[in-house]
């Protein structure tokens, strides 16, 4: 993955065109989307492969959250293509997309505040019809002792970190093939952050593809194989590793300045 930031768009789309065919699970091509009359995504092209953790970083207003929302069907794309395992996701609604094997953990609170941890977990398995849900929940609680201790308590009594852990843990009940995470560590302290990324690492080992959006670029880069740097609705740079933060193109995406 050449970290050459030369003239943004053409180089990136050329790379994406090569990357797409070879085993990419999620392929996004020239995606445009927005709210009302406002265009936020102005032609995003990227891909994610199974067993990969790909992060999307960039300054505010870049469209990172909007990207995930559009992939999951909360927002309608105005132009472009999204394919998952070769099948188009355009025009599908969130429950359908969930059933195709994509799980989405949105930014902010997505647990049900007045339901217990147990109920939250059961609802996480809402689309499953098999009888092993209960066993899977028990096994999950073994892996997350903090949650087991609070299983009968209402989710809103959990601390911010515990809630985030619950949200990430829920993913495992559905055995998806792609996980979309929107700022999974926002507002969390060091230990909780490491814990979350440990779990994300586990997703990867199971062969899941992970696409995550992060405000905290450094941490995200430390735990992912590849990164896309978004700015003003476009992919400005593609690369990997913490070193890309020193790249002038990436600096420019965050703080402006002469090219």
């Amino acid at each position: 993955m050449a970290a050459d930031g030369r003239g943004g768009d053409q180089a990136v789309s050329a790379r994406a065109a090569e990357a797409a065919p070879d085993g990419a699970l999620l392929v996004v091509r020239d995606l445009h989307a927005g709210y009302g009359g406002q265009e936020v995504l102005r032609g995003i092209t990227l891909c994610v492969r199974p067993g990969e953790v790909v992060c999307v970083i960039g300054p505010n207003g870049a469209g990172k959250s909007t990207l995930l929302k559009t992939i999951f069907g909360f927002l309608r794309a105005t132009r472009g293509a999204i394919t998952f395992d070769g099948v188009s996701l355009l025009g599908r609604r969130p429950p359908e997309i969930l059933r195709s094997g994509i799980t989405y953990v949105p930014q902010g609170i997505s647990t049900l505040p007045n339901l217990s941890v147990d109920d939250n977990l059961r609802l996480a398995a809402y689309v499953r019809r098999d009888r092993q849900v209960r066993d899977d929940i028990e096994r999950l609680l073994d892996a997350f002792p903090a949650l087991r201790a609070r299983r009968r308590l209402r989710a809103r009594t959990l601390s911010g970190g515990e809630r985030r852990i619950l949200e990430v843990a829920r993913v495992l009940l559905l055995d998806p093939r792609l996980v979309l995470l929107d700022e999974p560590t926002i507002g969390l302290s060091g230990a909780a952050v490491e814990f979350i990324y440990e779990k994300i690492g586990e997703f990867r080992r199971r062969g899941l593809a992970v696409l995550l959006v992060e405000q905290n670029a450094r941490t995200a880069l430390r735990h992912s194989q590849r990164a896309y740097v978004l700015e003003q609705g476009r992919v400005r740079f593609e690369g990997g590793g913490e070193e890309i933060l020193q790249h002038p193109e990436v600096r420019r995406a965050y703080l402006g300045g002469r090219a």
Binding site: P95, Y104, S110, T111, L112, R122, A124, V127
Partner: protein, 289 residues
């Protein structure tokens, strides 16, 4: 002291009845975020349906009950599918306007169909009175209060112990999150409307045993329903229950100890107080992600 005890017991019993007929209003307000000003009219229609089943077809009340409840559920689902669905994203004005239109339509259809006369039924288990804590209460009211408790219990069980019930709660608390979990939020809204009118139907059926029906019976109950829901908070089963009981108590205590003619004035005064001080209600939940 005796007067106070009478007032409290009467208030509790009637309060449970108010809670039952208000439950549906709170359910829709909490789950679908729509304020249904026509709720009392559905109860009125349920009362007419019960009347014709019992007086017309000579069914026992308990035999007629499932039919009336089923019809109520159906009415709720249809109302959502045909009308409410179209105004879901409309501003408050339109919602208020629409449900008032529904009120007119339902009330005056009843006028047209049944005329203005009052009608009632007699039901043997509702005759005479029972002693509760030494206070004589009409058996009909006690039966209604029991029906209320059973209905609340069933609904609570449904919401707490079934998958669909939990999904309904999830929709009320955070519809976007619910959608992301694969819950079909539209179907939940339909279910909420169905349940809402079905519970109003139970209330209406039992109410008929001690309160006569006419097309304008909604007048007497609409504000009491709102008072119960606003006071107790919507979004939970417990809210309208608590609110209804409190309203029943306020009305009874005011009526027995202060002044029977002005008791309603005191109830509405209480409603206004709550609106100014704590519109979320005593048990009001934080809504919506």
């Amino acid at each position: 002291m005796n007067l106070l005890l009478t007032a409290v017991v009467q208030g509790l019993i009637m309060g449970l009845v108010y809670a039952l007929v208000s439950l549906g209003l709170g359910l829709i307000w909490g789950v679908v975020d729509v304020v249904n000003f026509a709720h009392a009219e559905y109860m009125m229609w349920a009362m007419y349906a019960t009347y014709f089943a019992v007086a017309g077809f000579h069914l026992d009340l308990l035999a007629a009950l499932p039919i009336v409840v089923a019809l109520g559920f159906l009415a709720g689902v249809c109302t959502y599918a045909v009308l409410i669905r179209r105004i879901m994203s409309a501003p408050a004005v339109t919602q208020i306007f629409t449900t008032f239109g529904l009120l007119f339509f339902l009330r005056y259809s009843a006028f047209a169909a049944f005329g203005p006369d009052f009608r009632g039924i007699t039901w043997p288990p509702a005759g005479g009175s029972v002693l509760i804590l030494g206070v004589p209460i009409g058996a009909a009211q006690v039966d209604a209060a029991l029906a209320a408790l059973i209905t609340f219990g069933l609904l609570h069980a449904f919401l707490q112990w079934t998958k669909t019930g939990k999904a309904l709660q999830a929709t009320a608390q955070n519809p976007a999150a619910a959608l992301a979990l694969g819950i079909e939020v539209e179907r939940m809204y339909m279910l909420a409307w169905g349940l809402s009118i079905a519970t109003a139907a139970v209330g209406g059926a039992f109410l008929l045993t001690f309160y006569q029906v006419s097309p304008t019976v909604g007048d007497a109950f609409l504000l009491l329903m709102f008072a119960s829901v606003v006071l107790g908070g919507f979004g939970s089963v417990l809210g309208p229950l608590l609110g209804g009981v409190v309203i029943g108590l306020v009305e009874s205590v005011a009526g027995n100890l202060v002044s029977p003619t002005f008791k309603l004035a005191l109830v509405f005064g209480a409603l206004l107080l709550v609106l100014f001080l704590r519109p979320g209600g005593l048990l009001g939940q934080e809504r919506r992600g």
